[in-house]
């Protein structure tokens, strides 16, 4: 394997890794097929027997998550010790030269995902017992929820692209069911359909990419594809750009990158635990995971390296634009949703900058603090029976546990030292700076500035959310109360993880995460910082601190006013953000009814003010001429002829129109009788 690794063209000279001696993981890895299978099987258990069980199916779902969490952590520890790379597969069918396999992958990347999904899933499932209490579709919810997680585990455990698609679609279907959980409300239905359709559009990209790669390489297996890349397969080089682009489009759908982001904020229609899991560990991470899996395709200079520019630009756009929208949302879940979009932008940017570890590290830390924030927001919603921050305020006094955990999550998200967000965001900034000097060029430099500005915005909107929710006077109707223990304990557990997860990767001090995720046979050739870049860390921290300071200034002072967010009514920007850059409107009207869209309005405007002036001028001149022509030639000569022709046509039509009866069967009569007449005529005259 070492020869394979050295034959790779490495993009980053100082990031060059040496293929480490990897163990095969032993029995632990051989039995890892249980990870997706246990939830998948228990899902049916919940579905069929859930209602008869004392816990109404919750206990089965919870057990499946407990199993995944324990197994994931066990693998994580084993991986930290030795480094595991194992691929198991069972042959399902052979179609010609194509072998279909069901397999399971146990390597650094998938172990990290197993752990995150298991741990976050466990917390969220525990919390859901309290949150969903009394729901009419309680059992069905847990069946769907387990399917959702199982789908993600199938996706993550897939050692080949085909199985990845299976998991990908399972996640899509389950997300549809979960977003539409409260389907009595038409809007929730629409949101579920929107998520599904948007994802499907992007999935076409994934499918095309997979087909291109599979046809070129002749195998669906990741290991074969990566090997083809390592060997600089000439066939794959020719199609690499399009394959890479198509796969990235697929990733953009699931990871909700601009302009496919529209489904994610609407997906808030689902129950809050769903949002929590969807944003933290499952679904939206799938795209980033795919990019990580196929990373050498983008990183190797012979292959789809041009797509990286697209990736980094899309990521930067998502990062910045969606962060701004979060500033004007009133619904606390939507603030978090746009925040997720922005953070996914960070991950994508990192992938585009060639920083495999940095992107995945942000995925890792983000999973903890974002699930924490969502669960805390859910706890607030549970207490005040409203999603709107204008109905909240002052909850600090009523729900201390939720308050403190939310604060920890917010600080971690904002990237305050020494919480986890700081370390992962810093890693991304460092990668961008490195990329700017090593092939990324001016784009990477601009994106670096955007990313620092993004840190400021992140801190700003989280400060706003915290102040509007927990400070000031309570403005809602219901009587707020702290949530039950089954909901607060998961919050506390996640808060601890959100605080300490960052310590797993401190450049120059302890690079555990890099080594763990980096344990793989084929070297990725990415870059990661050797030591903390104090300038960048300072810049990121300063941006975050400035964000919090500005946020405090803006929203703490006006904490008592009903319309607190009005302080952000900047003339042009505010309506733009409020309408989400008109992207939804564009999709709706641009597709449904183009004539009513903004384009038409713009044309109308230019018609009224620009063209009309020209036209009127020309018209006045032409009018004079026309009058002469009209009276002389037109009225006397031409009109007569035309009128006569029109009258003749009109008369004929008046008579003939009665043959158009609108009755289909009379047409059928004419058709068949006519056919026979034609045949007979043909026979007679031939």
């Amino acid at each position: 394997m070492t020869s394979l690794a050295t034959s790779l063209l490495l993009h980053a000279e100082e990031g060059a890794e040496h293929a480490v001696e990897l163990s095969n993981g032993g029995l632990l890895a051989e039995l890892a097929w249980l990870i997706p299978m246990v939830p998948l099987v228990l899902m049916f258990g919940v579905l069929f027997f859930g209602k008869r069980l004392p816990g109404k199916g919750w206990e089965l779902a919870e057990f499946s998550m407990l199993f995944v969490a324990v197994y994931g952590v066990a693998l994580f520890i084993a991986n930290a010790n030795t480094g595991i790379h194992y691929e198991g597969a069972i042959e399902i069918a052979t179609v010609g030269s194509l072998v279909l396999e069901w397999g399971w992958m146990v390597d650094g990347l998938s172990i990290m995902m197993y752990t995150v999904i298991g741990v976050v899933g466990l917390a969220v499932f525990t919390y859901s017992k309290g949150y969903m209490e009394g729901d009419i579709r309680y059992t069905g919810f847990f069946a769907n929820f387990t399917l959702f997680t199982a789908g993600m585990l199938v996706l993550v455990s897939a050692p080949n692209l085909l199985q990845l698609i299976v998991g990908w679609e399972l996640v899509g279907v389950a997300s549809y069911l979960l977003i539409g959980h409260y389907w009595e409300d038409h809007e929730n239905n629409a949101a579920a359909i929107k998520a599904f359709i948007t994802n499907k559009v992007a999935d076409v990209g994934l499918l095309i990419g997979v087909i291109i790669i599979a046809v070129t390489v002749g195998s669906f297996r990741f290991s074969d594809v990566l090997e083809a890349i390592a060997n600089a397969d000439s066939g794959l080089i020719q199609v690499a750009f399009w394959a890479g682009l198509a796969l990235f489009i697929g990733a953009m759908g699931k990871s909700a990158q601009f302009p496919f982001h529209v489904w994610l904020p609407d997906a808030m229609a689902g129950p809050t635990p769903v949002s929590s899991l969807m944003h933290a560990a499952t679904m939206v991470t799938a795209g980033v995971y795919l990019l990580g899996r196929m990373f050498p395709l983008y990183q190797n200079e012979l292959f789809a390296v041009d797509v990286k520019v697209i990736i980094i630009i899309v990521g930067a756009l998502t990062l910045f634009l969606m962060g701004l929208i979060a500033l004007v949302q009133d619904d606390i879940k939507k603030v978090l949703a746009y925040s997720t979009l922005s953070q996914l932008g960070y991950m994508t940017v990192a992938m585009g900058a060639g920083a495999y570890t940095a992107g995945l590290f942000h995925l890792f830390t983000h999973a903890f603090f974002k699930s924490l924030l969502f669960l805390a927001a859910g706890s607030v919603i549970h207490a005040v029976h409203s999603n709107n921050m204008s109905d909240m305020g002052g909850l600090r006094k009523y729900m201390p546990s939720t308050y403190w955990t939310f604060i920890i999550g917010s600080l971690a998200l904002a990237g305050i030292f020494p919480l986890s967000g700081f370390w992962s965001k810093d890693e991304i900034l460092a990668s961008l700076r490195y990329d700017a000097g090593h092939g990324g060029g001016a784009v990477a430099s601009v994106v670096l500035i955007v990313a620092i500005a993004g840190a400021f915005i992140t801190a700003l909107y989280m400060a706003r959310a915290v102040y509007l929710t927990f400070f000031g006077e309570y403005k809602g109707e219901a009587h707020p109360h702290e949530s039950p223990k089954i909901m607060t304990y998961p919050l506390i557990g996640l808060a601890v993880l959100a605080a300490v997860a960052g310590f797993s990767n401190m450049p120059g001090i302890f690079t555990g995460f890099t080594d763990w995720v980096g344990a793989r046979i084929i070297v990725m050739g990415d870059h990661h910082a050797a030591a903390i870049d104090f300038l960048l860390a300072g810049a990121g921290l300063a941006a975050a601190a400035a964000g919090i300071a500005v946020g405090t200034r803006l929203w703490r002072r006006d904490r008592d006013t009903q319309q607190a967010r009005d302080t952000f009514r900047i003339p042009v920007l505010y309506p733009l953000l409020e309408r989400k850059y008109y992207i939804d409107d564009f999709y709706l009207r641009g597709i449904v009814n183009p004539t009513k869209g903004p384009i038409a309005r713009a044309i109308d405007w230019s018609n009224t003010y620009v063209l009309d002036g020209v036209v009127n001028g020309v018209g006045a001149g032409a009018g004079l001429m026309a009058r002469i022509v009209y009276h002389g030639i037109d009225q006397r000569g031409i009109d007569l002829a035309i009128n006569a022709a029109a009258a003749a046509t009109g008369q004929a039509g008046e008579q003939l129109r009665y043959t158009t009866t609108g009755r289909v069967q009379q047409y059928a009569w004419a058709l068949f009788a006519g056919t026979i007449l034609l045949v007979v005529g043909f026979l007679i005259f031939n």
């Binding site: 069967q665 009569w669 068949f672 009788a673 056919t675 026979i676 045949v679 007979v680």
Partner: protein, 173 residues
């Protein structure tokens, strides 16, 4: 060819049986006063046609007819019958037009025309035995005919979407 020679071939006896079944059930399809019975008679006619395909060595087509038509299309028809509350015999709603005889005349004329033309053209030409396996059909379908195949799949997709758009309840109502 004399009829006695023709009937001496055992397969032609099978053909006669199937043909009579097809024609008989087809006539019931167009005359039955009960819409559900008409749909079920169509199943018999289509099953008969699948039998003919088997006789002609077109195995895959035969099974496709069974699966797609008898399995899916007929179910669709039964749904259509239920949704539109079509008369199922007991009601006195007139299912046919009064113009039966002219229609029968047109149909008969069409039959005579076609049958006469084919008889004149092909006479006693025999069909050689050949069984086409699904594998051969698949190979040709995905090489020579792959573009028409894709076009047909687009037609199905369009029909799928069109069917949903047409039949769904207007959400604003």
């Amino acid at each position: 060819m004399e009829f006695t020679d023709w009937i001496a071939d055992a397969r032609n006896i099978v053909f006669l049986v199937i043909g009579v079944a097809i024609i008989g059930s087809a006539i019931r399809v167009v005359t039955s006063p009960n819409v559900v019975h008409a749909a079920l008679m169509l199943v018999v006619a289509l099953g008969g046609s699948a039998g003919l395909f088997l006789m002609l060595g077109a195995e895959f087509v035969a099974w496709t007819v069974v699966l797609v038509y008898i399995g899916a299309v007929i179910v669709l028809f039964l749904f259509g019958i239920m949704i539109t509350r079509a008369p199922t015999g007991r009601d006195s709603v007139q299912l046919d037009h009064a113009r039966r005889w002219p229609a029968a005349l047109v149909a008969l004329a069409m039959f005579v025309t076609i049958a006469w033309a084919t008889t004149v053209s092909f006479g006693d030409a025999l069909i050689a035995d050949r069984v086409v396996r699904a594998e051969d059909l698949g190979a040709v379908l995905f090489s020579r005919y792959v573009i028409p195949f894709e076009v047909v799949s687009f037609v199905l997709l369009a029909a799928l979407i069109g069917g949903i758009v047409l039949a769904r309840q207007d959400p604003e109502r």
